[in-house]
Amino acid sequence: MNATRDKTSPPEARLLAVTSILGYGFPEDALRRGMDADPHMIGADAGSTDPGPYYLGAGIPFCSRLALKRDTRLMLLAAVPRGIPVVISTCGGAGGEPHLQMMAELVREIAREEKLDFKLALIHAEQDKAFLKKQLAAGKVKPASRRPPLTVEQIDGAERIVGLMGPEPFVRAMDSGAQVILAGRATDPSIWAAGAARAGLPPEMGWYAGKMLECGAEPAAPKRDGCLLARVYTDYIDLEPTNPEQSCTKLSVANFALHENPSAIHHYEPGGMLDTEGCTFEQLTDRIVRVRGMKWHQADVYTVKMEGVQRVGFRAISMLATRDPVLIAGIDDYLQRVRAIVAEKSHNFGVPEDGYKLSIRAYGLNGVMGEREPRTTTQAHELSFILEVLAPTQEVANAVVAIARTTTLHADFPGRMCKEGNMGIPFSPADVELGASYEFTVYHIVDADDPYHLFPIEYADVKGQS
């Protein structure tokens, strides 16, 4: 069950993505059908920046431990006894060291409970700030997503910085006999590019397969939880969902090239760029699509994208809603008045106006789009508000949100008849501490000396039977 094969047969890699994100859940039947195809590797990308900066900063996963354990247990039981590598990347959702250690502990727990033995590889992705500063000084750092240039202060101020590894460390870990590979932050398609590379397949095939497999069965329709099987060959890839309720169609596969990418055509990855301009799609069966024509442009310099977050304070929020038509008609003035009273009262207990930030989202008016909301008036018969306060300490955030809540509840307004209170408040306690708050600060591309040295691999023999 190894991707190294008989030299006389054409290379092939059967790669099974079990889910879009580890911990999101997948049907057991879809996994079983995928395993019937005798894959060379099964895996899941466990992470994303999508849930925001908090999880990288706080070092905790955005999926629950219960859900992570359920998905991981099914993967290990399906693959380990058959000697098929199980690869999980961006462990814990953000891929920092605490996320990786949490998953390592969880995997060891499953091994004990299920009496499984395997060689475990942990691939670390947290970065050394001294190395980043050295590269910055040498002019070897450039911004991603039109960010401003990186600064030494941002490197120093970051709570945690991870590098997005490419396929090379995964190939090395599999070649070393690791059966279960847990990795920190990686680019979403990397593990699949690794699975294809091990079979001797060209990089464009592995990267394209990875772009399709990175979100499980998302390139299939209708949208359901399921698994996706890619059969990767030298000059084409066949994509098939293993949930029988789903099909890959030419359009569902082509559409997925749009997903979360700035460009549908040019996909930048460590070591090069995948170009899908020339891709053609063929409906092989009613459930399988064949794709060919992708290209890989090797970069001159091997680069790694870095993600880092900085702690910017502490937050507290409160939720309220009004059903009062007079208040709704004058809502802009009312919220201005609320802000002024909050500033005065906060000042009275020692918090100056520049000692906190207050955001008021008015759902029904501009709650979702904020400054980008094209409509400036509302016909809503009720409006809901989330008050958000960011402050240097939790105590100040809690104090200001509490005064903002009571002010929103009780402040006067012209024509007011509801003299006992302006707001319905759905909870007691009314305010919620959100704890430490983070922002993405590092989102930059760094020249790496090689594909491996930023991502050290650690091996362990896990003995669940003894």
């Binding site: 920046t49 925001g52 749009l258 700035p262 460009s263 055509i265 891709c279 789009m369 993405f440």
Partner: protein, 103 residues
């Protein structure tokens, strides 16, 4: 004139990293896609106007294999930072729904 939500099969937005949002408009037939393409109404300039950014900040492309138009533009507030409204960027498609396409 017909608004896009009566012509498109999919109109969606999503983060492309924490600092950019990408908006995809997909049509159910090649004919509809070609018709909308030929009007030139979906363009970098349109997205710049609707989303309050400079045109040079918009990456715009038609993508015929998916019968799609794609625009990627900067977020006004990075994902998850103070006062962000939409951490996943999944609800920023609405202004496109109301865009008129000539018959």
């Amino acid at each position: 004139m017909t608004v896009i939500r009566e012509l498109a099969s999919v109109c969606k937005s999503k983060n492309a990293g924490p600092f950019e949002v990408t908006i995809d408009v997909i049509f159910s037939s090649d004919e509809l896609f070609e018709r909308v393409l030929s009007t030139g109404i979906l363009s970098a300039a349109l997205f710049a106007k609707l989303y309050k950014v400079e045109e040079s900040q918009v990456l715009f492309m038609p993508y015929p294999p998916a019968r799609a138009f794609k625009a990627t533009l900067p977020r006004l507030i990075p994902a998850g930072a103070f006062d962000d409204r939409d951490v996943y960027g999944a609800q920023q498609h609405a202004p496109i729904l109301e865009v008129d396409i000539p018959d």
